[in-house]
């Protein structure tokens, strides 16, 4: 065909459950079919256009992209709006925003006014026609014709579709009539939902999911053929008159708007009048130098600062730094602890702007990691705030810039394996219980057999048609977007109304709005976002600093601690893996690595944090690193260039940045290509995008003289890194917090544990585990008491009766009581007499309800008043006293004398507060001789390496990291501490019942010692949970 064609009506899979192709597939196919242009017109959305734009750039396609959207006003009017220019685009964004903001999340409500207000966009009207045989439709079309013509006598077309359905001829005639009656030109359009006809089954499946039915019952909702795909120009020429096809080109040529025109304009109010952004930034840096470097700076530092500032200027990023500076200054003024991280954060400029607290002199090695021109990535700064106070920062942003100018980035929630199995299975009519069974039993981490094989093992008949369809459709639907959600904290702030840049819609959270693009889209367009994240550890540190100030009269900041230089006492604690509560390195996997890695400096911690990640572990980088570190393996480099990249990690790539850099120096990737590689890594599970780089990487390395084996290994490492690769820039910031928390744990443990307990939920451990760890460190923990406790846990002076010394202790607070509100606690404390309550009746007169008093009784907080919680509850429950007449009378009902056993107490403690300061279950069980022979945790140190031991404990942790090759880590807690048990897959399989269900477990196994860290390698697992039942007739969990 000689003529040209532009497809003006095409929906991607961002028209959720309608479009059956990715935007990328659509543009590639349209280009292959030699289309002049393709409009992506998702329904009331531009969420898919950036994907199309990026794909066109990546694949260097000649295809022109038109931005547009489909709108349904009601059941009788549908129009497409296309953007000829930037103003039309702003208009479109405004309309989408208005329509979306009127409706709840995921829906939209267009008004007539929206359509009449279009002054720049091109309208293509899609008449209903009379194919459904009703006259009411054609009269509706007639009315809309009058209305549309009245408001848009220009820039209006009739979009004629031909899908080879039964009444095409009549429909075309109908459109021709409308065209003549109203003098509206006709253009052809395809109503495309698929890039190729083979997507029809998937489209049918999506439709069935949308109508919550099965494909074979979806009947009238299903397309009857695959004509709503991108069709060849030859085919189109047969279906449409040539002037209709020519019209598409006329329209397309009017659409000159390109997404690259979008310029992000930072809010101008950040800059004092009369100053330039760069000038103001320089000014702030000079001020910062005075505070950060009171003794002045040397030439090297000065040179680095100059270089950084020059780069910021060249790349035109000063606003970005100023915006973040403004936000952190707010936090600082409010006393909210924060810390920046990310590639750009580790710069001296950021240190001077007080965005970070990492003294760059200490981490000079990181400075090369600043944003660079050639790498073509946008600057990356995430700022973490105290998790309990992040909302204040968010509100500050909304208040400062207004809701029109600030919104959160979206996160696209896509089909993943489980949701795909569930939805596709339902659409094909597979029973839900069977789908549940599949989902529960398929182990996606099983490397030996893929899910398709496993599902056959689980009873899906591999030969049957439905199984083949099921497997194919699940594979196809995975990674299809399902809905938009809000990003954890990525803000987009602009100088003008945001809705002229990108549509804004409602999020599920009240008063939150999200834009229609996610972070990749923003990156693709070079738009910057500011990440406002929440971090529990910052809350804990902040609380700890206040306690240290109160009880030790010492004012601390994170920077103060890091400035003290590496403290051997702190590192020796870390090397013993005594890290419960320490940021990032408290998990079981981290703990088991600590004695091997033996961190002794700040940079060791940076490595420690990044190395115990799925990326390096799957890429098999841990063992080579350890060997080289211990001097058991020579450190060699294939070239000087590689040495420069890898020398700081002994030749083993550990950080994501190193892998990217390797691709550049060793395989000759350009900055742009390296950036693509970085993104492909982030989502490499998706469409095998990473494999596209394989040939280029390996060839590139071989051309540069690296041997094939080395090249292959690097590629494998990249694959292993996948989405789990950890950037050094983030690790560096985390290491600061890890060190600060470890330092506090070592020097001010009482304050540290109190702060952690008051910041829960966060981190890895429960209150119970933290309290036990604290007690093992010799800290006195006092129970919750009606007359001594506050709502929060507090540090208090305590006179130890045995030693007659005054020490600091932790008094547990009422926040630990499940279901007890902070409001009740405050009321109670406000009304508490200075000498405390003297009896329960007095307590009942305080304005808190019976339920709350009962909760206090259950937590044994009334012990001081009534002996035990059972009798306390008995007297609280009497409703008679509530009546005013009886109020003065004494309680004459029979006193109830139940004296709880230790086991009762234990159960109650766990039920009310999830922890017990009383007898440990293991002590109890042992006193009744129910456990047989075993060794306690504290006695394990006396046992020899490789000796046979039996241990018993409450199962408090069970982790099977995907990286540990079938190993499960059990944490058993006995009355002296935590025991680490390693269970191999084979052992687990042979003793499934105990492995899966035991709450109290006895393990016979081999003791392994590595430095001071002890593991028990399980041989036999014995489930002793049933022994608990012997303690009571009531079968209750104590968890």
């Amino acid at each position: 065909m000689s003529g040209q064609y532009a497809e003006l009506f095409c929906q991607s899979n961002f028209s959720f459950l309608q479009g059956a192709s990715h935007a990328e597939e659509l543009v590639i196919q349209a280009d292959a079919l030699n289309y002049h242009a393709l409009a992506i017109t998702d329904e009331c959305s531009v969420a898919g256009v950036v994907r199309a734009y990026t794909a066109i750039k990546q694949h260097n396609l000649a295809l022109k992209l038109i931005v547009g959207s489909l709108f349904k006003l009601n059941s009788t009017l549908q129009v497409l709006v296309l953007c000829p220019n930037r103003r039309a685009y702003a208009e479109l964004c405004r309309i989408i925003t208005n329509a979306r903001r009127r409706a709840e999340k995921g829906a939209y409500a267009l008004s007539k006014w929206d359509l009449t207000s279009i002054n720049h966009g091109l309208l293509i009207w899609l008449p209903l026609g009379s194919d459904s045989g009703s006259d009411s439709n054609s009269s509706a079309d007639h009315e809309w014709g009058i209305w549309l013509k009245k408001h848009h006598h220009q820039r209006l077309w009739i979009g004629l579709q031909n899908h080879l359905s039964a009444y095409e001829k009549q429909y075309a005639q109908h459109c021709l009539n409308l065209s003549e009656t109203f003098d509206i030109p006709i253009t052809a359009c395809g109503g495309v939902l698929m890039h190729t006809t083979s997507r029809l089954p998937l489209q049918h499946t999506l439709t069935a999911i949308r109508y919550n039915t099965t494909v074979n019952k979806a009947g009238k909702h299903l397309l009857v053929n695959a004509e709503r795909s991108l069709r060849s120009k030859d085919t189109l020429e047969k279906l449409y008159r040539s002037q209709w096809l020519a019209e598409t080109i006329k329209i397309a040529k009017r659409c000159s708007f390109q997404l690259s025109e979008l310029q992000y304009e930072y809010p101008s109010e950040l800059i004092p009048i009369g100053k330039t952004p760069m000038g103001y930034l320089r000014e702030l840096v000079v001020q910062g130098i005075k505070t950060r470097f009171p003794d002045g700076i040397d030439d090297t530092i000065a040179a680095i600062i100059d270089k950084e500032l020059a780069l910021i200027e060249a790349l035109n990023y000063p606003f970005f730094f100023l915006t973040i500076h403004d936000i952190v200054m707010f936090a600082k003024a409010q006393g909210i602890l924060y810390q920046g991280r990310g590639s750009a954060a580790n710069s001296i400029v950021c240190y001077c702007l007080e965005i970070t607290a990492v003294d760059p002199q200490k981490i000079s090695v990181l400075l090369e990691r600043f944003i660079s021109k050639e790498r073509n990535e946008p600057p990356d700064i995430d700022v973490d705030f105290e998790h309990e106070r992040r909302e204040e920062v968010i509100q500050y942003i909304y208040q400062k810039y207004g809701r029109e100018r600030a919104a959160l980035a979206a996160t696209v929630i896509s089909y993943r394996f489980k949701s795909a199995v569930r939805d596709v299975g339902k659409a094909l009519g597979i029973a839900e219980t069977q789908l549940d069974f599949f989902i529960k039993n398929i182990n996606r981490r099983d490397k030996t057999s893929d899910w398709q094989t496993q599902i056959v093992d689980l009873g899906l008949n591999p030969g049957s048609l439905i199984s083949k369809q099921f497997i194919a459709l699940v594979n196809e639907i995975i990674s299809f977007p399902r809905h938009l959600s809000q990003h954890v904290g990525g803000f987009v702030i602009s100088s003008g109304p945001l809705y002229e840049l990108v549509p804004v819609e409602n999020a599920s959270m009240a008063d939150r709005t999200v834009i229609q693009w996610d972070k990749d889209d923003l990156e693709s367009l070079g738009l910057l976002k500011v990440d406002i994240l929440a971090l529990g550890m910052l809350t804990a540190l902040k609380k700890c600093f206040s306690l240290v100030e109160k009880f030790h009269q010492q004012r601390l900041t994170i920077a103060d601690i890091t400035r003290k230089q590496d403290d051997p006492n702190v590192y020796s604690m870390l090397q013993r893996a005594d890290t419960v509560g320490v940021f990032q390195i408290e998990s079981r996997a981290q703990m088991s690595m600590l004695p091997r890695l033996k961190p002794a400096t700040y940079y060791d911690l940076v490595i420690q944090i990044a190395i115990v990640r799925p990326g390096p572990i799957q890429g098999d980088m841990v063992h080579p690193f350890l060997k080289r570190r211990d001097g058991k393996e020579a450190i060699t480099y294939p070239s000087q260039a590689v040495k420069e990249v890898l020398s700081r990690t002994l030749g083993v790539p550990i950080f994501q940045e190193q892998v990217i850099k390797l691709a550049m120096v060793a395989a000759g990737f350009s900055g742009g290509e390296a950036d693509q590689l970085r993104r492909a890594m982030a989502k490499w599970n998706k469409n095998g995008e990473l494999l596209k780089f394989k040939a280029k990487l390996i060839d590139g390395m071989q051309v540069r003289g690296y041997n094939a084996e080395f090249a292959e290994r690097i590629f494998q490492q990249i694959c292993g890194f996948g989405e789990y690769g950890f950037p050094e820039s983030h690790s560096a910031s985390f290491a600061v917090l890890a060190y600060a928390s470890a330092w506090l744990k070592y020097y001010y443990p009482t304050a540290f544990y109190t702060a952690l307990l008051n910041s829960l939920p966060m981190g890895f451990y429960s209150a119970s585990q933290l309290v036990q760890d604290a007690r093992r460190h010799g800290i006195i923990i006092l129970p919750i008491c009606i007359n001594h406790s506050q709502y929060d846990h507090i540090v208090t002076r305590h006179n130890d009766k045995e030693t007659q010394t005054d020490t600091l202790a932790i008094r547990l607070g009422m926040r630990l009581i499940k279901g007890f509100s902070s409001k009740a606690a405050k009321t109670l404390i406000r009304h508490r007499p200075p000498s405390g309550f003297s009896d329960i009746k007095q307590l009942k007169n305080v304005a808190i309800n019976n339920k709350d008093i009962e909760l206090l009784a259950s937590a044994d907080a009334l012990k001081i008043l009534s002996g035990n919680r059972y009798s306390a509850r008995w007297s609280i429950m009497n409703t008679e006293n509530k009546l005013p007449l009886f109020a003065v009378e004494t309680d004459n009902s029979k006193q109830f004398n139940y004296s709880p056993s230790e086991f009762d107490t234990l159960i109650e403690d766990y039920a009310a507060t999830s922890l017990s300061l009383n007898t440990h279950p293991i002590t109890l069980l042992e006193s009744l001789n129910l456990l047989g022979r075993f060794t306690r945790m504290k006695d394990l140190t006396d046992k020899a390496h490789q000796s046979l031991v039996s241990v018993v404990g409450v199962v408090t942790g069970k982790q099977s990291p995907g990286t540990a090759g079938g190993v499960t880590f059990f944490t058993l807690e006995d009355d002296t501490g935590n025991i680490n048990v390693v269970v191999w897959a084979g052992t687990a399989r042979a003793q499934k019942q105990a492995y899966l269900t035991a709450k109290i477990l006895k393990v016979k196994g081999i003791l392994e010692r590595e430095g001071e860290v002890i593991h028990v390698i399980a041989g036999k697992l014995i489930d002793l949970s049933a022994e608990m039942d012997k303690l009571t007739s009531a079968s209750r969990d104590f968890h």
Partner: protein
């Protein structure tokens, strides 16, 4: 005081499955809580317990058979069981879904003594092959509690019974979880501790539920009961352990039902002329078979033979998951004597007309037809039971379709002029019968209007003729 006997059936649904062997681990799962509520011996050997999550159970045993818990099955089974017991004992009260209470005192005058009564009951019940626990007590709730904990004792000694009762934990009672928890939290966990408190003291602290319960348990308060009355109709349902798609295998389970029927009829001295068999098909409606016997019959063997004849000619739409046997009338029906043409036409209601036609021509000869939503012409209409589909499928009705669709498309052999089209149909992948055709409306030189299509291979077929 009245003595009561309670029978508790802990695995009623499991027991009512058609299970002759225990090869497979089998569990009944409560879909809401996703926990195991019943399991068989084989499952038990794998370490599966009631209350366990399905996920855990599935990982303990890979070829686990899972059936969803259906309270309706248990209720039905319970009613059947009560019916069964009705021949040996009189006052039966149902405690749905899985308990039966019997009033013993009244029966003792019929039987020699308690032991004899129990023996009769026990041997009668054992024919049903159900698992059950039992106990006696001097109040319905006491008997129920003791049965549920499984004391399995038939005694009438009041002291012993009270002693047993006192030992029981509150968690087996009918009290709400919240009340049990509330009691536990003041240290009351057993019946004896509970009965130790005066009702006045309890009433000050607890709601009426508890006071009522204690009163009924001790017999101080009357426990209102509804007693079972047998119905005259016979209806039994049998859940099959395996789905059956070959009707040859239906004989065995069917004979179980027919034996029950025989017992039912024999007891009442009845015969029936017609039995109805409902085959419950997976994802399809029930298939209803009516089997006649001109002279009337009660023997299971005879009915089995008759059924097999009927069953042989049946085609299943989907595997059968369970079967129900129904007998609506145990009296002979009056045959229809009127002549089709003797009475004035048009006075029949549609239902009457259908039944008359069926009587004259045989059931198979009278069928209905309805439109489906399937876009494929061959499947756009479906034969159905007469008058069973009255809904009008609007969507299909709009399409221009020929009134005569050939049962099988024929090669187009004559020259025709295409008048309209194409209408492309390319769909139907989901059931293995995909099609890709372009349909046209064409006219022959002699003026007939045809519905023809072209395949992807450019072959032409005639598919229908317009009237």
């Amino acid at each position: 005081m009245t003595l009561w006997l309670y029978l508790h059936f802990p695995a009623l649904q499991l027991d009512s499955l058609y299970a002759t062997h225990e090869q497979h681990a089998l569990v009944i799962v409560d879909g809401h809580k996703n926990t195991i509520v019943q399991h068989n011996q084989t499952a038990h050997k794998h370490g599966i317990k009631n209350g366990m999550g399905l996920g855990t159970a599935a990982s303990l045993c890979h070829d686990l058979q899972v059936h969803p818990y259906k309270i309706a099955i248990e209720k039905e089974k319970l009613a059947e069981t009560a019916h069964w017991l009705y021949s040996v004992t009189a006052d039966i009260s149902l405690f749905e879904p899985n308990g039966i209470l019997l009033k013993v005192s009244n029966m003792l005058s019929l039987y020699k003594n308690l032991e004899h009564y129990w023996q009769t009951l026990h041997s009668h019940l054992s024919l049903l092959a159900l698992k059950y626990n039992f106990a006696t007590g001097y109040s319905p709730l006491a008997a129920r509690l003791l049965a549920k904990v499984g004391v399995n004792q038939i005694i009438s000694n009041q002291e012993n019974l009270v002693e047993h009762l006192h030992q029981q934990s509150l968690c087996h009672t009918e009290l709400s979880v919240a009340t049990i928890e509330k009691l536990r939290r003041v240290g009351i966990t057993t019946i004896s501790a509970l009965l130790n408190i005066t009702l006045t003291d309890l009433a000050k602290r607890f709601d009426l539920e508890l006071v009522n319960y204690v009163g009924r348990l001790t017999g101080q308060l009357k426990h209102p009961l509804n007693f079972y009355r047998p119905s005259e109709a016979f209806k039994h349902r049998l859940e099959l352990l395996f789905e059956i798609d070959n009707l040859q295998w239906l004989a065995k389970p069917l004979s179980i039902l027919l034996t029950k029927l025989e017992y039912f009829l024999k007891k009442r001295n009845l015969i029936t002329h017609e039995i109805t068999l409902l085959l419950h098909q997976r994802d399809h409606g029930d298939l209803e078979l009516t089997i006649h016997s001109a002279q009337g019959e009660y023997q299971s063997q005879k009915w089995l033979t008759l059924s097999q004849l009927t069953v042989e000619s049946i085609k299943l739409l989907a595997p059968v998951q369970s079967i129900t046997l129904l007998v609506k009338h145990s009296m002979p029906l009056n045959p229809l004597v009127e002549d089709l043409f003797s009475t004035a036409k048009g006075v029949y209601s549609p239902e009457e007309l259908v039944s008359v036609l069926q009587a004259k021509l045989g059931k198979q000869a009278v069928q209905g037809m309805h439109l489906t939503e399937d876009p494929r012409p061959e499947r756009s209409t479906e034969i159905c039971l007469p008058l069973s589909h009255t809904s009008y499928c609007q969507h299909q009705a709009y399409k221009l379709r020929p009134s005569l669709l050939l049962p099988r498309p024929q090669r187009l052999t004559e020259q025709v002029a295409i008048m309209q089209g194409p209408e492309r149909l390319a769909t139907g992948w989901w059931d293995g019968n995909p099609m890709a055709r372009d349909y046209f409306i064409a006219q022959t030189p002699n003026g007939r209007w045809l519905w023809i299509y072209r395949t992807a291979e450019k072959q032409w077929f005639l598919h229908g003729i317009f009237s």
